[in-house]
Amino acid sequence: MPKHKVHSDTQSALADVVFDGMTIMSGGFGLSGNPEKLIAGLLAIGVKDLTVISNNCGADGFGLWTLLNNGQIRKMISSYIGENKLFADLYLAGKLELELNPQGTLAERIRAGGAGIPAFYTKTGVGTVVAEGKPVEQFDGESYVRETWLRADLSIVKAWKADPEGNLVYRRTARNFNPNMATAGRITIAEVEEIVPAGALDPDHVHTPGIYVDRVIQGSAYEKRIEFRTTRVRGEAQG
C-alpha cells in the first residue's frame, strides 16, 4: 500500500526480509547508482552466505566490496571484475563462487525475471565459454544460445526520487541496472535522495512504477564516489 511503503531507516526496511543464504540483486554500474545505504544496512545486519547479482562488486572500501570483505558473499553473478583486486583474488583463490555473464545477457536475464520469461535466445556468447552446456539453436540461419531468467529474494535499488506510492525516477547514468532489478525481486526496496509528495512526479516520466517497489527509504549524505575523475581544462581544444 502506498501509505505503508515509506520506511524511516534501512534497518526497519531490511530487518524482516533478510536471511542467510538469500539471493540479492543490487543496482549500480561501477560506483554509479549504488544503493549505498542499503548495502551498509546489510553489512550492519551481517546476513551471510549471500548470492549477489550485480554488474560489479563495488570497489576498494565502497559498496558491495564491503560485504565481500566481511565474508558475507558466497557467490557473485556479475559481468565485470576489472580493478577490484579483492574480488579477483578471492575468486582466483577459490574462496568465492563466480558466474560471469556478458553484461547485456545479465541485464536481459534480470528483465526476463521480472517479465515472466523463463528463457530467451541471444547471439551474445555463441562460440565462447558462455555458451558451453547451454542449448544453441539456429534462427534465420544464425546461431543463438538460450539463456534463462534471474530472480532474487530481494532487490535493492538506488533512485533519485520516489513518491509515497513507490514510483521512482532515476538520474542520468545512475539509472543503469536499477529499473530492471526493481522488477525481479520478490521484495524490492528502493533508497532515494528525496521522497516527494504524491503528484510531484510526472506520470509520463516515471521510470519504475510503484507496483515494483515494496519499501522506500530516503538516504542522506550520498558519497557517490567517482572511479575516474576525467576532466578537461577551460580554453583547451575540445575533444
Binding site: 554500474f29 561501477g30 560506483l31 554509479s32 547508482g33 554488474n55 556479475s78 559481468s79 565485470y80 571484475i81 576489472g82 579477483a88 575468486y91 582466483l92 560471469l100 556478458p102 553484461q103 547485456g104 545477457t105 545479465l106 541485464a107 536481459e108 534480470i110 528483465r111 541471444t122 547471439k123 551474445t124 556468447g125 555463441v126 562460440g127 565462447t128 565459454v129 558462455v130 533519485w160 532515476y170 538520474r171 542520468r172 547514468t173 545512475a174 539509472r175 543503469n176 541496472f177 536499477n178 529499473p179 530492471n180 521510470h207 557517490k224 564516489r225 567517482i226 572511479e227 575516474f228 575523475r229 576525467t230 576532466t231 578537461r232 581544462v233 577551460r234 575540445q238 575533444g239
Partner: protein, 212 residues
C-alpha cells in the same frame, strides 16, 4: 615510424561515417572521439545507458551520476538520452549500433576475438564486450600489433578464451590500418605507418598479409 596512440586513434576514426551511432571501448578507442573527421557527425553510445556522449566535463561540471562505460566522468549534449542497462543492450544486441571500436589481446584470421581473460592469471570479466561484438554491425579492433614478448597478436587461431567468434572486421595497430578478410583468413593492409614495410608487418603477423 610506428603510429602513436593518438595516431592509431586518428586512423581508427577513418572508419566513422556521417550519421553513425558508435560505441567506443576503454583506452585508445575513447581517444577516437577526438578525431572525428570534418563534416562528419556521429553519436556516441555508452553501454551503461547513454546515447550522445559529450566531452569530458570542466572541473566544476563533474557529476558522479554521469559516467561512461569506462567509469570516466563525461557530459551530456542537448540531444542526449539516458536509459536502463536492459534497454541499452537491447539497442546493442538488436543491431542498432553501426560501429564498435575496442581493444583486444588476440585476433584470429577467422575473425575470432579474445579480450577478457587469461586463464589462471587475469580475470577482468567480459563486461559488455561479448554483447558488442555479437550485436554491432561493424567491429574494429585497436591494439598493439605484438605482445610484450614481441609475438604476434594477430594469429591463426586464438589461444585465449574467446569474446566472440568470427566478429572482427578491421584492425588498427601502430603498424597500419587493416581490413580482416575472414573468408581467406588474411589481413588486407589499407594504410601503413610511414616507413613501415609490408615485410615488417608480415614478420609480426601470424596470418598472411596482402596490400590493398
Amino acid at each position: 615510424m610506428v603510429w602513436t596512440r593518438e595516431e592509431i586513434a586518428a586512423q581508427a576514426a577513418q572508419e566513422l561515417r556521417d550519421g553513425y551511432y558508435v560505441n567506443l571501448g576503454i583506452g585508445i578507442p575513447t581517444l577516437v572521439a577526438n578525431y572525428v573527421p570534418d563534416g562528419i557527425e556521429v553519436v556516441l553510445q555508452s553501454e551503461n545507458g547513454m546515447l550522445g556522449i559529450g566531452p569530458f566535463p570542466f572541473d566544476d561540471e563533474v557529476d558522479p551520476d554521469l559516467i561512461n562505460a569506462g567509469k570516466q566522468t563525461v557530459t551530456a549534449l542537448p540531444t542526449s538520452s539516458f536509459f536502463s542497462s536492459a534497454d541499452s543492450f537491447a539497442m546493442i544486441r538488436g543491431g542498432h549500433i553501426d560501429l564498435a571500436i575496442l581493444g583486444a589481446m588476440e585476433v584470429a584470421g577467422n575473425g575470432d576475438l579474445a579480450n577478457w581473460t587469461v586463464p589462471g592469471k587475469m580475470i577482468k570479466g567480459m563486461g559488455g564486450a561479448m554483447d558488442l561484438v555479437a550485436g554491432v554491425r561493424r567491429v574494429v579492433v585497436v591494439m598493439t600489433h605484438t605482445d610484450k614478448a614481441g609475438s604476434p597478436k594477430i594469429v591463426a587461431r586464438c589461444s585465449l578464451p574467446l569474446t566472440g567468434a568470427g566478429v572482427v572486421d578491421a584492425i588498427v595497430t601502430e603498424l597500419g590500418r587493416f581490413d580482416l578478410d575472414q573468408e581467406n583468413e588474411q589481413l588486407i593492409a589499407i594504410d601503413l605507418a610511414a616507413g613501415v614495410t609490408p615485410e615488417t608487418v608480415r614478420e609480426r603477423t601470424g596470418i598472411p598479409v596482402v596490400m590493398a
